[in-house]
Each structure stands twice: as structure tokens, then as C-alpha cells.
Symmetry: C2
DNA sequence: TACTTTTGCTAACACTGTTAGGAAAACGAT
DNA sequence: ATCGTTTTCCTAACAGTGTTAGCAAAAGTA
């Protein structure tokens, strides 16, 4: 009797329609304008139904954050595959990260910064460790072939990530027109500095 | 007739008591828990009185942001004064910035990130230009005495700021215990890299 | 004292997240 | 097919939020 299976499937449909509607609202009106009632109206269910699928509003944002990291991770994998040279891999991933941030501005804002979910819970997102490992590897490779093969890869990863995130968020804040001229140059500066910092 | 003067002074008292109460609430319960009604209760006035002094809640947060930048600027001036060597000035200011962020975590969170006021309005804060000029000068000096005296100081300032902000916000997010060991090292790495990047 | 302005209140509007409790539909067993 | 049980889903409410309209009382001016 596939009845329960069908029910589970139907529940899954509602669940993903909640996420879809939520995301639609986020990109239309910004994450601050997202509300449970608006989601309920969009999916043509009453409000409490949403709470059958998610513990609270934050859980929905958290799920969107996870989706964001999944997309980012995919992009990074793609970028990495374009070369086997760790230096080129790092460079490509940095650009890829940068492009993700501006091409999926809404995702990036939900994922970081905005104070809401991420700040407290970012370290609980499993996708984050995928991200970490992804970037860590070419850094390790680069260190291994450098003049200082004992450098701390975790430290360098931290540097890499902070650097990129700082650049992006300062840029989004002062929003001097997204990924334009000047900031491309800063990014180049950053990457070159980071790589030469490892190579010694 | 100093009556109007007295009235203005009294209004000023209420205004600053609003800001004081707001700040108290922010450091006690976090900026997300700040509400107009709580402020009103704290200052023992009714809610609409607050709207006689501030256009809306955001204006209050914005004022706190300004205060934050004022404190930060003071700290940076102090740090800068400790030396006349631009390299040492930059280093000292970087550490000062870093310490401000963690010693005044609440301020830093109101000033950046949290999505609320700053994101849209940061470029309207006059204190920001003070900050910019403050950091810009030693960078210009360092560039002038470097092997590449034609480098763009604004670009380097951007790099400096992004770098620090990125490091701090990634740290606050993953909160592996504030300004401890590892991150001190990353900071050193950052500053050294930045300075050698200018000196060429 | 009479008039005007300022001051500060109550009460409401339109929202928000969240949940209790009950009606209706779907299911399983007799 | 009918009973009882479970699941599904809704209405309505609670406790908050930012914000504002309108009015009473106090303060200042003539």
C-alpha cells in the first residue's frame, strides 16, 4: 500500500512550494519583507500549514541559506575543474565566488550578513564543510609546493574567505554598481596578493 | 527670553535619553530586540514622543551607527598618533580597527552587516568620510615612498577596509571565540601582506 | 483673563510570528 | 456500509511590532 508514500510525496510538494514561494518573495521584495502570511497566501494554504513543515521562519531562511551554499559549491566545483594547477584553481574559484555573490545577490545576503539566521547558525550548515574542503585542497597543494611547506592551510583558507567576503560586503554596502571596473581590480589585487603570500 | 532656549535644551535631553535607552537595550538584548515601545517605557514617555525626535526606528539606529563611527574614528586617530611612519601607522590603525570591532561588538553589528540601516544608507554618513580620509593619508604616504608611486590610493584603501571587515565578520559569524590566537595570526598575515603589497 | 501654541497622551491601524482548538476529510477495522 | 481513529487544515486568537490620528491638558503670549 503506497498510500503513506503518496502522502509523503504530497507533503514534500507542499514543503518545496513553501520554499519556492519564500524565495520568490525574497527576490521580489527583499528578505526583510518576507512573511509567513505572504508565503501562506502564495501557496494557497492557511498559515499554520507552514508550521507543519518548518519549525519557524528562521528555519525557512536557513533552508534557503543551504540552497545558496549548494549553488555556490557547484559553481566552485565547476571553476576548479577548469585546471589542475592549484594556483589557477584558487584564482578561478575566487572569481567564481565573486560572481556568485553578485549574480545571486539575494542568496548572498540571506547566506551572510543580514544578521538574521546565518550569524548564529552558520556553523551548523553541513554545506559549509563541503565549501571548506573544496577551497582547502588547492591551498594545501599550493603550500606543499611553496618555499614554506609548513604553513597552516586552515589559516590561509580563513584569509582567503575573509578577504573575498570583506570585498564583496563592503562593495554591496557602498554599492558603487556591483562588479564593475574598480572592484575587479581590487579583486585581482587580492588574489595576486594571496597567492604570492603563500608562495613566499 | 531664554525660554525657547530652555525648551530646546529640554528637548535635547529627551532626545539623548532616547539614544541612551536605545543603546542600553541594544547591548542588553541585541539590536533585533530593540523596539520603540521598550524605548518609550525606559525613558518613561509615551510612544509618540519618540517620533517627535526621530522620523522612525531606522533613524535611531542610524544615529547609533554615527556614534559608532565617531568612537572608531577617535580610536584610529589615537593609534595613528603613536607613530609618524606610515607603515607603522597603518599597522596600528588596523589593530585598532580590529580591537574596536570586538570591544564594541554591538556597535560594529549596528554599523555593518545586520542588513538594517547601514546597507542602504552607509554612504550618507558623514563620519564615513572622516574615516576614509584618516586611513587614506598614511596609505598615500606609503605609496609615495614605494617602488610604485603611481598606485591608486583609493584602491588600496578599499582593499584595506575590505580585508579587515571580511576578517572580522567571518570571525563574528563562525564565532570561534573573538579576538583569539588564530585570528591574531590571520590579522598579522593580512597587514603584512597589505603593506608589502604596496611597497612592491 | 482669553487666546494660541506646544506637549504628550490614549487609542487605533495594519502589520508581524506563533499557537490553541476545533471542524472536516481520509483512513482502517469491523 | 458504518464506526472510530487519525490526519489534515482552518479559524481565531495572543502577544508583539512600527506608525499615526486626534484629542486633552499644560504652558506661553496678549
Amino acid at each position: 500500500m503506497g498510500i503513506t508514500e503518496r502522502k509523503i510525496r504530497q507533503k514534500e510538494v507542499v514543503r518545496s512550494s513553501i520554499l519556492k514561494a519564500a524565495w520568490q518573495l525574497v527576490i521580489e521584495e527583499g528578505w526583510q519583507a518576507l512573511s509567513i502570511r505572504k508565503i501562506a497566501e502564495a501557496i494557497e494554504y492557511s498559515v499554520p500549514v507552514i508550521y507543519d513543515h518548518f519549525a519557524n521562519k528562521e528555519a525557512i531562511l536557513l533552508e534557503l541559506t543551504k540552497q545558496g551554499f549548494q549553488i555556490l559549491n557547484n559553481e566552485l566545483v565547476k571553476a576548479k575543474k577548469r585546471s589542475t594547477d592549484p594556483e589557477k584553481q584558487i584564482e578561478a574559484m575566487a572569481y567564481s565566488y565573486w560572481e556568485f555573490a553578485f549574480d545571486h545577490k539575494a542568496y548572498y545576503q540571506v547566506m551572510y550578513g543580514l544578521g538574521m539566521p546565518s550569524c548564529e547558525t552558520v556553523h551548523q550548515i553541513s554545506e559549509l564543510s563541503t565549501f571548506t574542503e573544496l577551497v582547502m585542497q588547492p591551498i594545501k597543494d599550493l603550500i606543499a609546493g611553496s618555499k614554506t611547506p609548513n604553513a597552516d592551510a586552515f589559516l590561509k583558507l580563513h584569509t582567503f574567505w575573509s578577504m573575498l567576503h570583506g570585498l564583496i560586503s563592503i562593495n554591496m554596502m557602498t554599492n558603487d554598481n556591483s562588479k564593475e571596473k574598480l572592484n575587479q581590480m581590487v579583486l585581482q589585487d587580492f588574489i595576486a596578493g594571496f597567492i604570492s603570500g603563500i608562495k613566499g
